[in-house]
């Protein structure tokens, strides 16, 4: 009966780990909601800040995050997709290409503050884009590139060889095969990857710290060379700067709630799409 007891202890400790993990998750959601919800109102979502960030809403901050995210995708999606197509479909299976492939995967592990410094050196200073929406979008885009490339590669590899063969055997060129058969078949997988990286990019603080973000800026960004406010950086700034910590903290929780909601709903969409795909292939 000793075995029985050991087994019970084993199961119990596994269950306990789940419980601990889950309670942390629950606590995060609970704290953010209980502190953030009271400040959320229609005005909070649609008005600009007033009185040195202590009143009013955060609309320009939300808009800034949306712009940065969109900007980064406009840059990263075509480039990442093109890289993935080249690596999967065109490149010879050589040593050099393998090294490139591994490097790209490693790029995904680079700390985001390093991307931030890179963006400062290259986009802000070297190209002279200044601290701007453009510099921030490009920096975030570079952060998203490896994610998009590996997600797209996975989706491309999952396309069966047999249908490429079918296309080529009909007298289609390789390019026609990629454009008309491979990419459409891989599309749901690629889209899932893109959406997940949107979720990741929207919440990043470090890459925009030196390249795009301003704590306070009157009105909405006017051009791609404007500085912008953005949710993650705004939370940081509200908690570390300014003269009214109490009032600011409430707003920071409001912002956190919005950000959490955005990111969770984005990954929710990705999970939903992935499920759809399963049923389609299954």
């Amino acid at each position: 009966m000793k075995r029985d007891i050991i087994q019970k202890i084993g199961f119990f400790s596994l269950f306990l780990s789940i419980l601990i993990t889950f309670s942390f998750l629950g606590m995060i959601v609970y704290f953010i909601f209980s502190r953030g919800l009271p400040v959320i109102s229609w005005d909070f979502l649609t008005q600009p800040p007033r009185n040195a960030m202590t009143e009013g809403g955060v609309a320009p901050v939300i808009i800034g995050t949306v712009y940065l995210t969109l900007g980064s995708m406009i840059f990263a999606v075509p480039l990442g997709l093109a890289c993935a197509v080249y690596l999967c479909e065109y490149s010879p299976k050589s040593f050099v290409v393998n090294v490139i492939r591994i490097s790209i995967n490693n790029l995904a592990g680079v700390p985001s503050v390093v991307f931030g410094l890179f963006g400062l050196a290259v986009f802000v200073k070297f190209f002279g884009f200044g601290v701007s929406l453009l510099s921030g979008s490009l920096t975030l885009g570079i952060l998203a590139l490896p994610l998009i490339i590996s997600a797209s590669q996975e989706a491309l590899i999952a396309v069966p060889y047999s249908i490429r063969e079918a296309s080529l055997s009909l007298g289609a060129t390789q390019w026609q095969t990629i454009r008309r058969i491979v990419l459409p078949t891989a599309f749901p997988g690629i889209l899932t990857g893109v959406i997940l990286s949107i979720g990741r990019v929207a919440g990043e603080t470090a890459p925009i710290l030196f390249t795009a973000a301003a704590f306070y800026k009157r009105g909405y960004p006017k051009s791609i060379f404007s500085e912008v406010m953005a949710l993650p950086y705004h939370i940081y700034a509200l908690m570390t700067e300014g003269a009214h910590p109490d009032k600011q903290r409430a707003i920071a929780y409001g912002c956190s709630l919005i950000l959490l909601f955005l990111v969770l709903s984005i990954s929710g969409v990705a999970i939903f799409l992935r499920q759809q795909q399963r049923s389609y292939h299954g």
């Binding site: 299976k93 249908i163 063969e165 079918a166 080529l168 009909l170 007298g171 289609a172 058969i181 078949t185």
Partner: protein, 253 residues
């Protein structure tokens, strides 16, 4: 080579890396006849048939020597575009491989990639191809359903229709019935006999009865060599080589 041949291979050797898969193959494919290729697994049947439409050059690290003619023209010459050869020499694969698109698009695809844009023309050709592939009656009410919802046998006939739509001159079948039930198999066989009138056909098959039923000529492959090639009747009734006889009577294989 002889002018009466549709296709013809001359001293063909083929290597995957260093492993030789075909040795000195000389085989003629006559116009408007069905040529069957039989032999045990791994003897090089698929490899051979895939040389006829230049599909094997997509496999990396392969070497090919010898000549392959289509209507007297050497299709291995550097000036020949493989894409053009593949349009003229169509192929139906072992496992049905429809595109994850609807039935209509599966067939119109081959026309569109060959720069045919006229909608009316495409529609007519789709219907014509489905009729020729004996699939029209089963799918005419659901042309815009996904091809993946068809049964295995229907999918294979769809693949045949897809192939017919681009009007190839030669049709290559690589074990087209390997994954089909007996009824679907019979339908595909009937279809092959029907198509013989308009096309030159080569079919790889595992199934001896199938070779006997559908083909006019038969080649027997063993370990990368063409052991015997003759009229199907001759091969099945009075083979010259004892290895052919052993295989046909089921003594090995």
């Amino acid at each position: 080579m002889d002018d009466s041949m549709k296709m013809c291979s001359e001293n063909v050797n083929f290597f995957y890396g260093r492993q030789q898969a075909l040795k000195e193959i000389n085989l003629n494919i006559l116009p408007n006849k069905v040529t069957a290729i039989i032999g045990p697994s791994g003897c090089g049947k698929s490899t051979f048939i895939r040389l006829l439409n230049r599909m094997n050059e997509l496999v990396p690290h392969t070497t090919l020597t010898g000549r392959i003619y289509l209507d007297g023209q050497d299709i291995l010459m550097p000036c020949v575009d493989p894409v053009e050869i593949r349009r003229r020499v169509g192929m139906v694969f072992q496992k049905p491989n429809p595109f994850p698109k609807n039935i209509f698009e599966n067939i119109s695809y081959g026309l569109e990639v060959n720069s045919i844009r006229n909608k009316r023309f495409i529609e007519e050709r789709v219907v014509e191809s489905l009729k020729k592939a004996a699939l029209w009656d089963e799918v005419k009410d659901r042309l815009y359903d996904s091809a993946l919802n068809l049964s295995g046998g229907q999918q294979q006939r769809l693949c045949i229709a897809r192939c017919l739509a681009v009007k190839p001159e030669v049709l290559l079948f690589d074990e087209p019935c390997a994954s089909l039930d007996p009824i679907s198999t019979r339908k595909v066989e009937e279809l092959i006999l029907e198509l013989k009138k308009d096309y030159t056909i080569a079919i790889v098959t595992h199934n001896m009865q199938q070779a006997a039923r559908v083909s006019d000529y038969t080649g027997f492959f063993l370990l990368g060599e063409l052991i015997e090639f003759d009229k199907t009747e001759k091969i099945f009734k009075a083979p010259e080589d004892h290895r052919t006889e052993d295989y046909i009577t089921g003594r090995f294989g």
